[in-house]
């Protein structure tokens, strides 16, 4: 490990909640990667043993109304959450960095336009907009990722913009200009590496938000119909809350722990990289 990464790790390691977050994220990743090995059966396999409670033979966490294994569903569902979370946050971060960098570096009418658009995005409820777009264009996995990603860029863009506004007036940027560097190179090779820490923090929180958003869409029946997802399982469970509590409880624990993990990880990174937040 080289200098800055090592320094970061030494700081991060001291944060108990941050380490819990990291552990939860690693657990989620392990379950998602090993789903084919860990899941007892195919999560779509139906059987005549419908609505069995947990601890029934062959159904550790019970079965749903079609006799599908809840445990296998929860294990495979981790893949959807992790994939959508990572890919949507990556999309949002990419758009946010480009838009924020251009806006903060050049200023002027570009900046004005970007700020107005991001204000608009704050006003229009993201979830309602996502519901409409997904029900217009279909709820396949790539659509979900794109829609959630495109609706989540403004926060990253605002942070990148404010950092660029500050940095473009600093001496090192002036000297890069004097050396005749092109604006694009100054923006992405000189300034960007210096402002990455808060971007990574927002990205981690974005993953958590994207997981929640995907689960919410799934709960509204707008998940990928070809995949078992936690939100989709809770959509089905809604019809059986009176009879089969296990159909609700376990997928929800999955969502909560995944979201908690990325939230704690983001907070931990924030505290480790922002000297003002360090304690003692």
């Amino acid at each position: 490990m080289n200098g800055p990464v090592r320094d970061f790790w030494l700081q991060f390691r001291r944060n108990r909640l941050g380490m819990v977050g990291l552990a939860l994220v690693l657990l989620l990743a392990a379950v998602a990667l090993l789903a084919p090995v860990l899941a007892p059966v195919d999560p779509f396999r139906t059987s005549r043993q419908a609505l069995l409670p947990p601890m029934s033979p062959g159904f550790l966490l019970g079965s749903d109304h079609l006799g599908r294994d809840v445990l296998s569903g929860v294990i495979w569902g981790s893949r959807v959450s992790l994939l959508v979370g990572l890919a949507a946050a990556a999309t949002a971060t990419f758009i946010g960095i480009v838009v924020g960098a251009v806006s903060g570096f050049f200023g002027g009418w570009v900046d004005e336009l970007v700020m107005r658009v991001s204000e608009l995005f704050q006003i229009i409820p993201r979830f309602v907009l996502a519901l409409i777009v997904v029900s217009f264009f279909g709820s396949g996995l790539s659509n979900l990722i794109l829609v959630i990603g495109i609706l989540s860029w403004p926060q990253t863009a605002r942070i990148v913009r404010s950092q660029f506004l500050r940095h473009r007036a600093l001496p090192y940027v002036d000297s890069a200009r004097v050396l005749g560097m092109k604006p694009l190179r100054i923006m992405f090779a000189e300034i960007l590496p210096n402002v990455l820490a808060p971007v990574i923090v927002v990205a981690s929180l974005d993953i958590a938000q994207a997981i929640l958003m995907e689960a919410s869409l799934g709960f509204f029946g707008l998940g990928d119909p070809n995949l078992r997802s936690w939100g989709g399982m809770l959509n089905t469970a809604q019809g059986f809350v009176q009879r089969a509590w296990w159909m609700s409880v376990f997928p929800g624990i999955g969502i909560s722990l995944a979201v908690l993990g990325f939230n704690l990880l983001g907070d931990g990174i924030n505290e480790a990289t922002d000297p003002r937040l360090r304690e003692g």
Binding site: V117, I124, I132, F136, G221, V249, G252, S256, V259
Partner: protein, 328 residues
């Protein structure tokens, strides 16, 4: 917030109102874009996937100029929306605007009760946590805040139904009032309140988390300031320092965040209403997705976005009223 000097509250409010006009237009344009880029015939986005009489389909085509160039269509769309014409819902047999406004009222009732409850509990928890940092109360407040940010609201709703309605039988599992028995007067009011308890709890949790965290951090900041030290030096009791001096200053960020989180409450409300069968605008959204009632979905987006603009405006005015630095 910039220093507004000697501006009056009226002029300030007017200024904010003028500032929101581009946002209102922006919201309408986003809706227009959704209609225009919807797959298939744009008339479907204006009518919904419901067998409508052919005369009506032709009239909508004519009214929105669907055979005209884009700029012409945009102008017609803005004019129609400005006249309050958001189309007709064939699935509900009602004009979209009437339908959405009727449902929005029921959602607002739930939201107002929720925000009141969540603010009270959140501020109380935040004060407890800030009085003794790193104590057990502080740890509990942090725990609640973390859970509030991570637990999906609709799942919390299901768990509340399972525990308090199905297992314990303390509260009804859903609906806005009892259907089998008709209550009148006070009994009817109590019946409604009983139906509201569980959805309110589910929807509150996240806002309790937000207000707890915010109250704690702003109080900690305020309580370390010089004027609090001065108040203590004057011998004012610790309780009065906290409630009268500390909390008054901490109220400003709390007002702002509650006002500006309206858009998020709407999303939460849509999910909670679906769990509890609360007949508000969120439940309407859920139903419209299944009937493919596009004009209703777009109408909800428009009405809700405009309400967010109004609430943000009111929040700014409330902020100006509370801010001791502003004179009128």
């Amino acid at each position: 917030m910039p220093n507004r000097g000697d501006k009056t509250l009226g002029r300030f409010a007017l200024g904010r109102l003028v500032n929101s006009i581009p946002l209102v237009l922006g919201v309408i344009v986003v809706n227009f874009l959704l209609v225009s880029f919807a797959p298939g015939d744009p008339v479907t986005a204006l009518i919904g996937d419901f067998p409508a009489p052919p005369e009506y389909v032709e009239r909508v085509r004519e009214q929105f100029g669907l055979d005209q160039p884009v700029h012409e269509r945009l102008v017609r769309y803005v004019v129609n929306v400005a006249r309050g014409d958001l189309g007709f819902s064939f699935a509900n047999r009602l004009p979209v605007l009437d339908l959405v406004l009727e449902r929005l009222g029921r959602t607002l009732v739930l939201m107002i009760v929720t925000v009141t409850f969540a603010t009270t509990v959140g501020v109380a928890l935040g004060v407890m946590a800030a009085r003794k940092p790193h104590s057990a109360a502080d740890a509990a407040a942090t725990g609640i805040a973390l859970a509030g940010y991570s637990i999906p609201v609709f799942w919390l709703g299901q768990i509340l139904v399972i525990v308090f309605a199905v297992w314990l039988g303390l509260f009804p599992a859903g609906g806005m009032r009892s259907v089998r028995v008709t209550y009148t007067g006070l009994a009817a009011l109590l019946d409604r309140a009983r139906h509201m308890v569980l959805p309110m709890f589910a929807l509150s949790f996240r806002y309790i988390a937000i207000t707890t965290r915010l109250t704690r951090s702003s109080l900690l900041e305020v309580m370390n300031s010089d004027y609090i030290l001065a108040a203590r030096a004057r011998g004012i009791s610790e309780r009065r320092v906290l409630w009268e001096h500390g909390l008054r200053a901490a109220a400003l960020p709390i007002i702002t965040v509650i006002g500006y989180s309206f858009a998020f409450i709407v999303a939460g409300s849509a999910l909670v209403e679906t769990v509890f069968g609360w007949p508000g605008v969120g439940r309407l959204m859920y139903d419209s997705i299944f009937t493919r009632d596009y004009p209703v979905m777009l109408g909800i987006l428009l009405v809700v976005s405009l309400s967010v603009i109004v609430v943000n405006l009111l929040t700014d005015i409330a902020y100006a009223l509370f801010d001791p630095r502003v004179r009128y």
